[in-house]
Point group: C2
Chain length 561, copies 2
């Protein structure tokens, strides 16, 4: 976290922020196709790789990858904004987050139809995702105004202590600096430009540089304008936010350049293990390594014990089928492996039949992109080719067709592919001989975001053993439900061991996601006026603090509102 | 964090723990020289590398590096203990920590004289370190009994919420599993066998395997018995603690084997950047990477502004000289670089003269080992050979001689060695032309554990700018004092960017050090009886929790005591 030592050469004037253009609830299409450097639209680079994105069923738009000079400008201005304390005041951060939320909401149907044209996701699904994104921005704004997230701990000194005086020590979380965020293909709003990584990084006080996702460039650009306008409204240094288009032959180069840039101090990624691990390796191999939080692939195992299978076969089958195929199975939490122990063959057969019927009743849905559709078909074909794997519903012929494969626990232990994510609307269901057999099978499953247990009138020790095995490989364990649907709240844990994430110690969703962009700093015997306001004696920010071991509420709650 | 899948084959019976041997306040010397595998002394491996440690001025003892089979047994039994929940009950953990503290205290002078013989550190220094170690164990015990460190967050469900029901979500920190701890050469007690890493890992519920440090094997073995006896007293599974001797040709192999072992889930290290980074690389390159927390080299810059230099030259010089040479300068927080801005030449000359006199008045002290002494002499010779560096006191002729080198800020920017740690009783003092010059010089200083500011009647903006520059490279910043002396308390931050630590996001000292050994897990709609006690509705552990956004104190405080 050393200060980059090369001097900052701003490429736009920073003393007087440029005048804000007239606000449009959505940008006119004629202006689309530009990266946004420090709140200003950038001229497309004539040498940049171009790629196309749909605007509607009939229209499309050309986008151009940002140039190396634009990457440089975005990163340097982000550093300058951080260095000048542009986001130091929590009220400014809260105003930015709230402004972005309101502007995103105002973009209304224009945003949703563009996102639907680009991703094939349905309008109701995107409407829900937009609401989640707006609420997420507001949640972080409220968290910032409330203020206790900085974990202020104060230990007052005691000069009279023997044998040595006790120093006055005050500790809190401090922002790392500019953060690069890589948008996700499958969540054009909630995990992309104005999504959780961006919201939590801004909440922490870190400027953000977005690498837009080429599968929804227009949605990214619109969401970016919501943030850019909000930053202008709040009168912030323009370096606090930039959005860079990246696609075609330039995509990898641009991503790597952002992670390597000395002004970038952390990164967030949602996507494939291949991409995430490559970028994480770049982050780790810098002369000054930076934290990089990659959320990647997850098979989300489901374990069903015999009591639950017997009592609730049809209910479980229906819930699972819906969860497997939600948004064409393109959710990071879709259940891709179901392990069940049957009391007898009839129970197992009834469950399999119910699941087959439930899958059959579900429609074929479009997939996010041709590439993702092709990758899914390849994954299905690979699994179907394995001995002992029967495709009883769907298959690789049509992308987006609900697909059910039946196999046995022994095959799952034998073939790694059967316990790995196959991104799309399919699941592998494996009959287990016994709870012990299920446990042995879970032991080959790698890290996941979630693990699900269905139990009812089963042996308590069996249930506890299966839960323990699920907990060992997942950040969130759940009972009698489906893993899709990620609640954005303080108790959420959205992470898991590899390949689910490279950082199982931090959640990517929920208010504690803010911790990823911080490090603790302690101040010893520091004069009050040199302390960050959160640690000053009079508590001017009015935040809850831990003082000499006692939780101390502010004298004037909400002083920061 | 996947469960190691190879079956556990205990090498000692685990159903009936072996009977505890008679307690000795210190082990009789005839029994020394053995690793401790799962609370039992181990037979020295005839094929193991041997090395010697002093028992007193005249006597020495042979130690044998643990064998591969002993490494295997220690790790597998640690996993078995974890897997069977040996440390799941906070009361058991607290009893273990308190027992170890008492037994360490009872070892009394025998422990201190052995440590002094091995390290050359003085008895008063070691007595202070022992007290700190004992208090640290008790602090973690108290933290575990109080219980709120698990950060329990409960969000109650709302089945009536639209459009989707709100799930019940409960989140807390959970232990990672067995931890390997590498003892430090310079703190035979506080950062070694029964030191902060071990105490915090046990507090989290992680069994510990120690790799003893070959420069104080006897001290390590004695401290290990304090832990082993305490574990027996508490009736714990013997796998909760092992201590492995490691030295000579076997040291690197043994360390690497521990970090690679599938049963080991995290590691803690205090030592050189070379060793720490090599082990961290092994941890990161496992098929299932594990977190590895390495505390390494730190130059601990001191910045003195002109007002302070003029008003307090003699006081600052005296404090600095004592801090530079504390324990022969073999503290991770000794100030190795002093940057000062003088109002005029007379001020600078007076400060330099005062520092020289203060250093001259201090005794030559023994260094920890011949290797460390040689490495220090080499570092001094290297710095002295640089043009523009004047050695005005001490030098490399005698290890342990207080050594003062004077240079200028320009030289520091020119030669990296001048801003790097030179482990031993020396410091580099560099005159700066101005505050701007000092800031430019701080910009070449890499990560440190601490940064110190002296200011008095100086320009407020100057002081703020220097503090900001120090904060960018250090985990703890302090005013008008010396960085040596690390308070063990909740507000301490003992970490910093590389090379100070590879994990600037976690403190190695203080109660929050426990977080290193945990990851968060969320439980969704989980039946109460399947939840960890900390998250159950009735709060049987009586801990403070955050419930639906409100901090909720236990109905019965101290229920866990």
């Amino acid at each position: 976290m050393t200060t980059p030592i090369t001097p900052i050469t701003p490429t736009t004037p920073t003393t007087t922020p440029p005048a804000a253009p007239a606000l449009a609830s959505s940008m006119p299409r004629t202006q689309m196709g530009r990266s946004i450097i420090a709140l200003e639209p950038a001229e497309p680079d004539p040498a940049g790789a171009t790629f196309r994105g749909k605007l509607s069923a009939d229209e499309s738009q050309t986008y151009t990858s940002a140039s190396p000079a634009q990457v440089e400008a975005a990163c340097r201005l982000a550093w300058e904004a951080f260095d000048r304390g542009a986001l130091a005041d929590p009220r400014a951060r809260a105003a930015l987050l709230e402004g972005a939320a309101s502007r995103l909401a105002v973009q209304g149907d224009a945003l949703l139809s563009l996102a639907s044209a680009e991703t094939g996701l349905s309008l109701p699904r995107l409407s829900g995702e937009r609401d989640r994104t707006v609420n997420q921005l507001r949640m972080f704004a409220a968290m910032v105004r409330e203020g206790s997230w900085v974990e202020a701990i104060i230990e007052r000194g005691n000069p009279a202590r023997t044998p040595v005086p006790k120093p006055d020590l005050r500790r809190m979380l401090r922002p790392l600096g500019p953060v690069v965020v890589f948008g996700a293909s499958n969540f054009p709003l909630a995990y992309s430009t104005a999504g959780g990584d961006t919201a939590s990084a801004l909440a922490a006080g870190c400027p953000v540089v977005i690498k837009g996702h080429p599968s929804h460039p227009g949605t990214g650009e619109m969401a970016a304008w919501a943030l850019a306008h909000a930053a202008r409204d709040a009168g912030l240094h323009p370096g606090v936010f930039s959005f860079l288009h990246a696609g075609g032959a330039d995509e990898e180069r641009l991503g790597a350049a952002l992670v390597r840039h000395p002004c970038i101090r952390a990164g967030g990624f949602t996507g494939s293990p291949k991409g995430g691990l490559a970028l994480a390796a770049i982050a780790a191999s810098r002369p000054d390594p930076i934290p990089f939080f990659a959320e990647m692939g997850s098979v989300n195992p489901v374990a069903i014990l015999p009591g639950a299978l017997r009592a609730r076969a049809k209910e479980i089958a229906g819930a699972l089928a819906a969860s497997v195929t939600l948004s064409a199975g393109q959710m990071c939490t879709c259940p891709g492996l179901v392990l069940y122990v049957a009391g007898d063959d009839a129970d197992a057969g009834a469950f399999e039949q119910a699941l087959r019927e439930a899958m059959l009743a579900l429609p074929v849905q479009p997939m996010l992109s041709e590439r993702i559709g092709a990758s899914w078909r390849e994954g299905i074909a690979q699994r179907r080719s394995l001995a002992g794997v029967e495709t009883v519903q769907g298959g690789e012929d049509r992308p987006g067709a609900p697909t059910l494969m039946l196999t046995t626990s022994a095959r799952v232990r034998e073939h790694h592919a059967l316990s790995e994510e196959c991104f799309g609307p399919s699941t592998v269901c494996a009959r287990c001989e016994s709870v012990g057999d299920l446990l042995r099978t879970l032991a080959v499953v790698k890290g996941s975001l979630t693990g699900t247990l269905w139990t009812q009138t089963d042996n308590a020790a069996d249930a506890a053993a299966v839960l323990k095995a699920l907990e060992a490989i997942a950040g969130r364990v759940l009972h009698a439900g489906v893993p899709t649907g990620v609640e954005v709240c303080p108790a959420m844990v959205h992470t898991g061991p590899l390949p689910a994430s490279n950082r199982p110690d931090h959640t990517a969703v929920g208010s504690l996601a803010v911790r990823r962009w911080c490090r603790p700093v302690a101040y010893q015997n520091m004069p009050d006026e040199l302390l960050p306001p959160e640690l000053r004696e009079k508590n001017p920010m009015g935040i809850e603090r831990l003082i000499d071991g006692a939780r101390t509420a502010p004298a004037r709650p909400g002083a920061n509102a």
